[in-house]
Symmetry: C2
Subunit: 316 residues, 2 copies
């Protein structure tokens, strides 16, 4: 192994937060050497539990995740948090939020928080999030929480790489069920109704129950509904318990490996797609791409035939 | 050309709605022959204007799109609508909504509505939407409207394939700007504040203006803000005018071809990725995929090295 990578990994495994931050940046930004780093880190990974948390904006996810982190710290478990924040260049929310939250936990090296902003569709957000989780996992964290803001396919892709998925809803947003359509309901192992001291919490619960009665899960687990008020910590212990109960269920039913295999099938295909696109881009070259695009825009060339031709060349 | 495809295309070009529906299904579902069909249709495409419309759930997009379609029909222009509905199996919204809307316009062959549900992340929603738009375009529609529900990367990918992008907001959802973070603000050529008779419309307008002052567009177009009440048609004429103004701007600044080239660059890479993934899957075989996933889940194999190996084989 490259001695520089070897050194980074030793520092990272020894708990150096700067080494961890550097490794995460290298993986997130795909800087040269990122895949060698991941190859070297992979053998150390696979020990952490990975919890995905998602829900619509304003559901209080960050506060809940922070409370959950505090809870686990009380039980001496180390925590890594990946906040996937679909921030536009307009708002810069990811970086700002990151700093504020980092500060709050600054005194505790047992909590490491990292924000990731969404990048262009070609970057593969779910992929880089999963890779960052692998780095945190290899660094020896007991638990990794991945929180995403939003309810689209992106979020589904991100959180379904977790071992456990928690979907967080809130009362009073009017069309609660509407906003959580996009495949999110199906992936919930546990539901949380946060801000449950607000009017309408019971209605949200009824709506979830109604949807559940229509759902077909591949197993016989009925996702529990936990009511929380994250701002004062109400229900956080119950949520941790629900997570533990689901973990035990997976173990007792021998589903842990089955889930991991399913996750890796998805990830492998995604990784393969990313690798192939990279090769296709090399093959194509930037100049050729714009030339081809021009010819297609002018209708001098048909894109479907072109793609078949190029795809045929990659790898030869 | 395959005489069967030749025949389908003749029927489709002659305005047969069943031939159109069949062609769209073939393309959407990637049934055998889909790419030959697109190759044959491509030369007939490129004439329609493509308008993308997006915004958060509950913004009244469908109603607005319907009103806009009515407006264009009054001006004798034919319209194709693609409603991209990220429906979960729970709600079945796409199909239901499709039927209801189809019925309403049933008497007018000048409006063709097609719903597309989101599929798994590997299906490439933006890709298949763009291909369906190509079919509608080749069928001779003057205008194609693509509406998406949601504000994630998926929606950005879908609408940015349009010539013109309209972002629809509504007052009173509490955190308006929050819900439209994910890259949507940057892609708007025109903003609509729908349900603008509600309290808070002015606030939404101020928020958009504030965000615009921070934004950097690659051109000197300032996206106008059009206020509408889609349910009674208020502002729909103004929206059509704003769309026309933007079209003229693009023409006058010689940006039409430039935009099309940019779009085709994105699409080509996406198409290439899809084609390569298909080949990778063939190369891999389902049995191998699950075997590999098992070995990785058991940490007997490192996925990063494996992907490099497989990617190296594709196409050889």
């Amino acid at each position: 192994m490259n001695p520089e990578i070897q050194h980074s990994i030793e520092q990272l495994r020894a708990g150096d937060p700067r080494a961890l931050a550097r490794a995460i940046s290298a993986v997130e930004n795909r800087t040269p050497g990122w895949s060698d780093l991941l190859k070297a880190l992979f053998p150390y990974s696979g020990k952490a539990g990975v919890i995905g948390l998602t829900g619509p904006p304003g559901a209080g996810k960050s506060t809940l995740v922070d409370q959950l982190a505090r809870h686990y710290r009380k039980h001496k478990r180390t925590v890594g948090i990946i906040a996937v924040d679909p921030t536009s260049p307009y708002t810069g929310g990811a970086i700002l939020g990151d700093r504020i939250r980092m500060q709050e936990h600054f005194s505790d090296p047992g909590i490491y928080i990292r924000s990731m902003a969404t990048r262009g569709s070609l970057g593969g957000l779910a992929q880089s999030t999963a890779d960052v989780a692998t780095v945190l996992d290899a660094s020896g964290r007991d638990l990794i929480m991945i929180e995403t803001v939003g309810v689209g396919q992106d979020e589904v892709d991100v959180v379904r790489l977790a071992d456990i998925t928690v979907v967080i809803l809130v009362p009073g947003t009017g069309d609660d069920v509407q906003t959580i359509k996009a495949g999110i309901m199906e992936i919930a192992d546990i539901f949380v109704i946060n801000k449950s001291d607000r009017d309408g919490a019971d209605r949200v619960e009824r709506e979830i129950r109604a949807l559940q009665s229509l759902a077909v899960r591949g197993d016989n687990w009925t996702p529990p509904i936990v009511k929380t008020v994250a701002t004062d910590g109400t229900g956080v212990g119950e949520l941790a318990e629900a997570i533990e109960t689901y973990e035990s269920y997976l173990k007792n039913e021998n589903l842990v490996l089955k889930h991991k295999i399913q996750n890796w099938q998805d990830r492998l295909l995604e990784m393969l797609r990313e690798a192939l696109l990279e090769r296709a881009r090399e093959q194509l070259g930037d100049g050729n791409l714009s030339q081809y695009a021009l010819e297609i825009a002018e209708h001098k060339r048909d894109p479907y035939t072109l793609v078949e031709e190029i795809a045929g060349k990659v790898g030869t």
